[in-house]
Amino acid sequence: MIDLFALFLMLLSASTPILFAALGELVTERAGVLNLGVEGMMIVGALAGFAAAHHTGNPFLGFAAAALAGALIALPFAALTQFLLANQVASGLALTLFGLGLAALFGKPMEGVKAPAMSPGPLGLNWIVWLGLLMVPTIWWFLNRSRAGLILRGVGENHDAAHALGYDVRRVRIAAIAFGGAMAGVGGAFISIATVLQWTEGMTAGAGWIALAIVVFSNWTAPGVLAGAWLFGGVTVLQLRLQAAGVRVPVQLLSMAPYLATIIVLVAISARQKYSRRAGGTAPGSLGQDFHALR
């Protein structure tokens, strides 16, 4: 019983980076923007957060810096897609590649440095884990209950109608992209500052892609994102446990498990047509489409 509880606490930690990134991407996609640059924004956040934490000695300042860096690196993507109407898929992929390369370049001096210690919060869990859990109801409330959230959903659902009603589609989307970047940055920094405790190149290891998959899995809802993050966090913890227990399964197969689970879940979802909009699916109607107003 106690072991199960400890396992659950481990799961909470393991799912935090994905939870942050996926919540950010959820808000971005609800505004109608598909940003495939999550992985790139995470790794930039991981490096910037780690560097700031190391230099100031304060891990919390590190997370603040990670959020800022994530939002900043997302801005070129916003400019490309919102002003120059560049293709969102291509721009997002470019952002990932750019982020990975940038972090590798500026991360060299950080290699081999240890992260400053962080005082744990309640239940011995990192404060950021609690922050992530708090973000779930907050974002749910924002999207479903607040006026600003309604406007954001409106922009994502039908940007032409939102424009016709007088809402500034571009401004809403840029804000959503920046928020998504900040959340991905914090998610990445959690890996470097709180999990691995050091900087290594490419340390996000595909977490950004899993976050993107979870947004689809969640049917674009905040509780769904939490469920998805826990599912993949759970698979990750389980495979680590199995490795530690010396189960006679090749390590490579075990490490593969979270990614394999992503693919299987996505295939299962799209096989059923449950997410048709009439049946209550909430894929934003203008997701990934360019918006251009004639004045």
């Binding site: 409106g154 659902e157 939102a162 016709a164 009603l165 809402y167 048709s276 209550g280 699916g281 004045r295």
Partner: protein, 506 residues
Amino acid sequence: MTDAAVFRARGIGKSYPGVRANDDVSFAVDPGEIHALLGENGAGKSTLVKMIYGLVRPDDGHMELNGQPHQPTDPRAARAAGVAMVFQHFSLFDALTVAENIALGMENPPPQRALSARIAQVSQDFGLPLNPARRVVTLSAGERQRVEIIRCLLQNPRLLIMDEPTSVLTPQEAELLFATLRKLADGGTAILYISHKLEEIRTHCDRATILRGGRVVDSCDPRAHSARTLAAMMVGGEMRAIDRSGRQAGEVLLQVRALTQAAPTAEGTALKGVTLTLRAGEILGIGGVAGNGQDELLAALSGEIRGASGTILLEGADLSRLGPEARRAAGLLAAPEDRLGHAAVPDFSLADNTLLTAGARKGLVRKGLIDHPAARAFAADIIRAFDVRTPGSGTAAKALSGGNLQKFVIGREVMQAPRVLVVNQPTWGVDAGAASAVRQSLLDLARQGAGVIVISQDLDELLELSDRFCALNEGRLSDPVPTAGLSLDQIGLMLGGAHGMEVAHL
């Protein structure tokens, strides 16, 4: 001339690159008046109302609302000044609920619960039943329009703009709409009503301002003129009368027998036991409110969706299991509703677009190679025969206006001399001149002995063209009735089942 008018425009002008959309437009709308704005597509109606609603800024001239200068910088400012607008293409958010949609159209919406109560109140006052908690995607076209109208009514507008509101409604739904508008007008609201349905304007509007080429050409009392004279003012010349002569029903060409098909997509409609017979020289009209299986029926006939064997027979030969190319070769051709993207590839030139359907029948493809000169020549033939206004066959399809592209798409099929032609919404969003050209070409085709099926939501068009009429309702096709002597009311009842009508009569 003292200002009792709610809205007044003086010398409004607006240019886009290469186009003068509005030029020196002046008119006024009085309180309690239903004022029609008439004109062909491209006459500048939409640009004009967009300026009033703050979506577009005029280059010159000025507007007044209630005697105050009206220079809205965005729709919010226009709404604050008392202007409300119901759009031609609904500006609704499908995945959101009715209440959320309405809240988005208001400046300071009350909390959800209070808003729902107010929606219920207004919908009761005006006889427009609506459930605030329903998601818009589940509503019929008539109900969606109610959402837009209630969104406007909650702002107590001084000026209500309606942009072609009846194009998607059944006759009964349209009557309900006019009753609502009249009630509003009697309360002192000024209504600016855009349409090119002349009959409806004649019966319901108090005054009409007619636009042509961006300028006001006339202003009149529409009740004092015939639809013909109004059309002549719009077009700036006599309308060519439609010639229905010289056709007689011949042998049976097409038979559809108990065609049943599951919905191709989650949003689609299943076809349920569709049965019809089409004779040579005959035009069969199929009416119905959008989303009742029109697209699916066209796809089933064209071969995009293949049916069970024995369901579709052309001159006795079973085509049910064949794809579109084979059906075209056999003489069954189709022109779908969506011009840009379905009937034509937007970025292809007109010449390349002919290859999409005419490759086999016109010999434009030989041994797998494209005969470009032949394709260009065929495109040029269509352009000439159908008076398509375009620089030439090398122009991209997307550069053509809706009416011109529609003439091209219909022309491409008609000029292949099909045995049977199926068209869906042949004149949707097409101005009066082009529409009458398209209709005449369908009649001419039937006169030459082909069978034509016209699927349309425009009942006037169906009455004008077809010899027999069927209604398509939730994927079921009614038995055909002869069109001669059929009234709009009877058709409305045939379309009947149209969602929400029972509720609407409460």
